[in-house]
């Protein structure tokens, strides 16, 4: 079974313009607090006053305690890889990670792989999905210590956190 679109030259279709509609959502203001933190090169998390858990990126509710997570904390930008994926070779313009094209951004060369990782930053109880940058795919492992890599100029966007790199 093919996994990619270009391997499916034919599918069921009807030529023409079709109205498919569009959705909107009400934004969660926590996203604003999170990207505002990124602009200052800080990782903001939410703290539950019920169980003391810290969630990064912040979440509004604690499901365990069924209450709002009212606390805010800044966690360390150093953390631990809890799991990872090694991608197939990446083509320019094929994927966007946190709104950016990793080839376009110069994070990798065309046909190199990317390594999406979950990182538990020190002080957090949750994982944040991001990219492992500047690491040999052979050296990545669960438990690897990493540090946040910030964009040269931060703008208050998710891509301000470009990824993490091995802590050496």
């Amino acid at each position: 079974m093919p996994y990619l679109k270009e391997e499916r030259p034919e599918t069921l279709g009807v030529e023409g313009e079709w109205n498919i509609g569009a959705y909107t959502w009400k934004a969660n203001r926590l996203l604003e607090e999170f990207v505002e933190g990124l602009k200052q090169r800080k990782l903001v998390g939410s703290l539950c006053f019920g169980c003391g858990k810290v969630i990064v990126p912040p979440r509004n509710l604690c499901g365990r305690c069924h209450r709002k997570m009212e606390g805010r904390v800044v966690v360390s930008d150093v953390g631990t890889v809890t799991c990872f994926i090694i991608s197939p070779p990446i083509k320019r313009g094929k994927i966007k990670v946190l709104g950016m094209d990793p080839v376009e951004q110069g994070l990798i060369q065309e046909d190199e792989v990317i390594i999406p990782v979950f990182v538990k930053f020190d002080g957090a109880d949750s994982n944040l999905g991001t990219l492992l940058i500047g690491a040999d795919p052979k050296e990545v492992h669960i438990g690897m210590r990493v540090r946040a890599v910030w964009a040269k100029e931060t703008r208050g966007e998710l891509s301000d956190l470009e990824g993490v790199e091995p802590l050496r």
Binding site: G21, Y23, T24, N28, L61, G63, H66
Partner: protein, 381 residues
Amino acid sequence: MRRVAIVGYAQTQHQFDMQKTREDMVFEVVKEALSHAGITRGEVDTVVTASTDFLDGRTISSVFLSMAVGAYLKDESKTEEDGTSAAWYAFMRILSGVHDVALVEAHTQGSTFNPHQVSFYTLDPLFDRQIGVLNDVSAAAIQARMYMSSYGVSEEEIAMVSVKNLSNAAKNPFAQRRMPDLTVEEVLGSKLYYHPIRELMMSPISDGACALVLASEEKAKEITDTPVWIEGVGVCQDFYLRDRNLLELDSLRKAAKDAYEMAGIRDPYAELDVFEVSEKFAHEELMIYEALGLCRRGKGKVLLERGATEKGGEIPVNPSGGALAADPVCATGLVRMVEAAKQIRGEAGEYQIPGVRRALAHGQFGMCAQKNWVFILGGEG
């Protein structure tokens, strides 16, 4: 068979463009329902929600609300369509004997995605969607025209439904449209959509949520001194738009018949004290009177003209204002259950009907009320 009761409930103040995320809205209404019942999340055995992925704009949308609704690491399931379907399912889960306490929740934020556009997606994609102008409003207009010409009903008579319900809603703090001094002329002067359907003859676009707590007899008696018993339920759905006689609400007639039979009701006019129905369009309320067996076919307008369905009438219908006053789509039928329960418990404040022992709540979903749920609720005694 086990008996099941409503032991707690809450609803939001329904409004257009609520300044809350869906998650916060649901969290708050669930917290309030649990606190109204006087129980904690820990005492809930199963959680059943209702919404549609189309309206929520995500697939398997309940996953994203599991924490808000208090379902974290709990038995949880979601029904589609109206909240009365979730109540019906939760009722059966308790009847099964496996669960004793169920939390039911339903919601829609119509301001984030026009529900009338969603109605377009419920149409057959290859033929009916391509007509372009077919949607729930134009389908309702087709139905209203059939009804008017078959039974000699005027636009004024249909507008009187809006006047009754929206002025009733003036006393309901949860309603969106509260219009104490509304006149037939104002209804007929409101914006025309598909003739004869005008803005004040159709339900508004609302953001809102509703939650209720159901419990088995034993548990219900522990939780409250004033349980509201589910005495009867009926559910029925009709053919799709094109195959159906739009002049009739046959599926509602059948659902009501089943619910009456289960509750041992032979004469609904005499035996029920108040009705909370989901009239998404004003003309539907007249058709609902007929399908519920309150009058003969085509005579709905006579009940209205006689004032029988007014708050002070013999069979008050929608003292809360009904769906015309607020329509948070999937929550609308569940709100009717809450309003009926409030009437039985004497908690309806300024729109309380005196001496309510038994009430009917109705939910619907689909074009021209394609699917219907009827609940008969009763107090102790």
